[in-house]
Amino acid sequence: MAQYDLIVIGSGPGGYVAAERAGRMGKKVLLIERDQLGGVCTNHGCIPTKSLLNAAKLYRHARESQAMGIVAQSVSFDLATAMAWKRQTVETLRNGIQFLVKSAKVDVVFGEAQCIDPHRVAVGETIYDGKYLIVATGSSPAIPPIQGVDLPHVLTSDDILEIDSIPDSLVIIGGGVIGIEFASFFSSLGTKVSVIEMLDEIVPLMDVEFAKLLRRDMKGVEFYLGCTVKAIDKDGVHFVDAKGKSTTIAAELVLLSVGRRPNLSALEQLDLAVDRTGVIVDERMRTNIPNVYAIGDVNGRSLLAHSASRMAEVAVSNIFGTDRQRMRYHAIPWAVYGIPEAAGCGLTEQEGNKSARNIVTATTQMRANGRFLAEQGKRSAGLCKVVVDAQTQAIVGIHLLGPYSSEIIWGAAALIEAELRVQDVQEIVFPHPSVSEVIKDTIMALAANKT
């Protein structure tokens, strides 16, 4: 029986980072993957969708940039080529991960893992023995208990990335990040897209003001908010609104994007404490079993690839290094790669108002920003909101809607992590012209308000 210092189950952005870090520390590490290296992020999530979304954005810009002098005739979108590009991207990244774990001297085994006890994991007939276990089994699309979800035209986000023709109509059930990104993609290609959301607003993690603006800016998409889907059949999707009115929308394809569920099947034989969102962990990623740690989607604390990677570092550090590393959730940036993009970090105004602290906010329109105006024009949607603590003037939240948001938002994480105050950020020089200046301008507005 092979003896390992660490066994990692799942090779997504949590698992492979954990394996690689521990491997580089000279530990004997086993990485178990049932599908392909890279997990959902690389193979069915972040990466393939970014590839397709960028293609859709270019296609749309080509058709919609007459005002800037671009006259493009007979522009078309070839899904097969876009899919090939996507495939190539994914393969390249996967090879990169393979190289990375190999250079960290991590053993990789492909197969379905089954934990026998906190120290032993079976893959097929082989049993591996590990001093520590990091569970990074990720999550899968949740399938709601709705009649008709098993029909062939009802797809999850995994399935819809493999389609070979663009549907004429698509109904998306669930207006979260995944739903909105696919809505952007398909509506850009000319599909008639409808989004049915149970809550009163799309993208719950987003500032309400921003969500509303994003929704309004997605002109090709019909939104049905506060609606509950009752059934799906070949005529379409049947749902009722808050007032009880029934509606049916015809759909060539239906996408289920109502959330994700932790993958717990490999862990059934462990007595892991689990709650509604996943395996219960503390801020050091420890579970109730002393040598077992759980990172990424499977613990449900923050369903983001970069959260998983950070959790991996925290877990490995706590196992083999210092116990001082903890997971901080208050400054994890997120991004929605729709058209337009949105990104945020820290408290929203709504969360701030609900919390015990007093907050002050300022919001600015991006069209006041030079580069934004030059590239997008004065009619495009763009917003920046900054939330600060009223007592300390420390930045506690930054929210962006507009191009490059996803590339700018890391700066917000830095400001929040460093607990810089309004007056501190005033001393930082932002490049001009850039959309990022909108952050400084908004913060300046807060400083002006104060005096």
Partner: protein, 440 residues
């Protein structure tokens, strides 16, 4: 004539000081009262003045070294004067030389200073300046890499550890700064400052000094609860007596010398006392009882609890039907239960159901004490050590006779003093005539 300058005693609690910096060098001329060096105690930094005038002939300790108070640190005399190191000083020098040899041969393993390698003053300064010594990868500049105050001060200057917002909160609120932060690179966040909100903490380091906090668990926790419950809910009274132990001692040596086949070699005096208690109790059912608030339950049989000291704490396994056992069986059962407790294998089956308890501090030389009743039992017997007591004989002659101390604690709610005393007196008789008791 050369004279020694000693490390002054800088307070009643100061045993040693660390030399920080010499202000003079060997060969310098000094007058009485001149500052020779700076030294650090756990409470302050002091200047050590010369107690003699002359030339510094030899400096005995280098900077960073810890010197016991009243120990010579320098020798002052006339230039070129030959001097003899006082005994302690020369011993110190030899030791130093030895140490140098060892130092050279010993490979450097640990770079991180261990906890003990931080001077008390450095630790105190670190706390005041919100420096977490353990998190700093600093090599102390004191002897053997000991971290002293100046190392901490250097660390304070080199690192900004509070976030701007946290610093502002500290400035505005006057809250203490925690030593550890949870932000990037251990930076101290506003939340860390607020979480640390314990205003009175400053004197921690000075008094009562370092301490270890151990949360109660397992046997300790149970014992704590049971003892308090006993004292809080009973009216305890302890009476003492001494029983003639001659018969016990005679029998004990007989057992020791007896042939293997009797299997009596291991019967101890404690076993004999348990035997005597189990037999005597039968005549005093009021003491072989449970007090249940509104009623007294007296038992026909004696289930004897016997306190056992283990590494994990106090266990009281119960010898069931002690009153029906022979001395040998009782002895074997006592040993079996004690080893179960020591191995941590005793369960509720062995640890419950007692009707009376015996606890023995005799082996530690204790003569008498006040045991605490193991509720709901109503009495507990403490056994002390055997001492020689003067006894006046029939013809007024005094002889010294071995006696064993007995301390009986009763719950006065359930039993009165007189019946308890009667029981104790009967027990003394039984012990004094143990050979007869055995034959009964």
């Amino acid at each position: 004539m050369a004279s020694n300058v000693v490390m002054p005693k800088l307070g009643n609690t100061v045993d040693s000081c660390i030399i920080l910096d010499w202000k003079v060098r060997e060969g310098d001329t000094v007058s009485q009262g001149d500052v020779l060096c700076e030294a650090e105690t756990d409470k302050s930094t002091v200047e050590v003045e010369s107690t003699a005038s002359g030339v510094v002939l030899q400096i005995l300790y280098g900077p960073g070294e810890e010197v016991p108070v009243m120990q010579p640190i320098a020798i002052i005399g006339e230039k070129g004067e030959q001097f003899v190191l006082s005994e302690t000083a020369s011993a110190k020098q030899e030791e130093q030389e030895k140490e140098t040899v060892q130092k050279q041969s010993k490979p450097v393993v640990d770079r991180m200073p261990s906890k003990s390698a931080v001077s008390p003053r450095a630790r105190k300064t670190a706390q005041e300046k919100a420096i977490d010594i353990a998190s700093l990868d600093i090599q102390g500049s004191g002897a053997k890499g000991r971290v002293i105050e100046r190392d901490v001060l250097a660390a304070v200057q080199s690192g900004v550890r509070l976030t701007p917002a946290a610093r502002q909160v500290v400035a505005e609120s006057g809250l203490n700064v925690p030593t550890q932060g949870t932000g990037i690179g251990g930076r101290i966040l506003v939340s860390d400052v607020l979480a640390q909100n314990k205003p009175i903490q400053k004197t921690d380091e000075e008094f009562p000094g370092p301490y270890v906090e151990t949360y109660l668990k397992g046997v300790r926790k149970v014992t704590a609860k049971r003892m308090h419950e006993s004292i809080a809910t009973t009216a305890q009274l302890t009476i003492h007596a001494y029983a003639r132990a001659t018969a016990l001692q005679t029998l004990r040596s007989r057992f020791k010398q007896s042939d293997e086949r009797w299997a009596l070699k291991n019967v101890t005096i404690n076993d004999m006392l348990l035997f005597a208690v189990s037999r005597t109790l039968l005549r005093f059912p009021a003491l072989n009882s449970h007090f249940l608030g509104d009623r007294l339950v007296s038992f026909d049989h004696v289930h004897l609890g016997c306190a056992v000291d283990t590494e994990k704490g106090l266990y009281v396994p119960v010898i069931r039907y002690a009153d029906t056992r022979t001395l040998r069986s009782l002895s074997e059962e006592t040993k079996r239960l004690a080893s179960l407790c020591n191995e941590g294998k005793a369960g509720p089956e062995q640890l419950s159901g007692g009707t009376f308890t015996v606890t023995n501090l005799g082996p530690f030389g204790v003569e008498s004490f006040t045991p605490i009743v193991n509720i709901p039992e109503v009495a507990i017997l403490g056994i002390g050590t055997i001492t020689m007591r003067p006894i006046m004989g029939d013809n007024d002659e005094v002889s010294f006779v071995p006696h064993i101390g007995l301390s009986l604690t009763i719950d006065h709610q359930a039993v009165d003093g007189a019946p308890a005393a009667r029981f104790l007196s009967s027990l003394c008789e039984a012990i004094a005539s143990f050979d007869l008791l055995l034959a009964q």
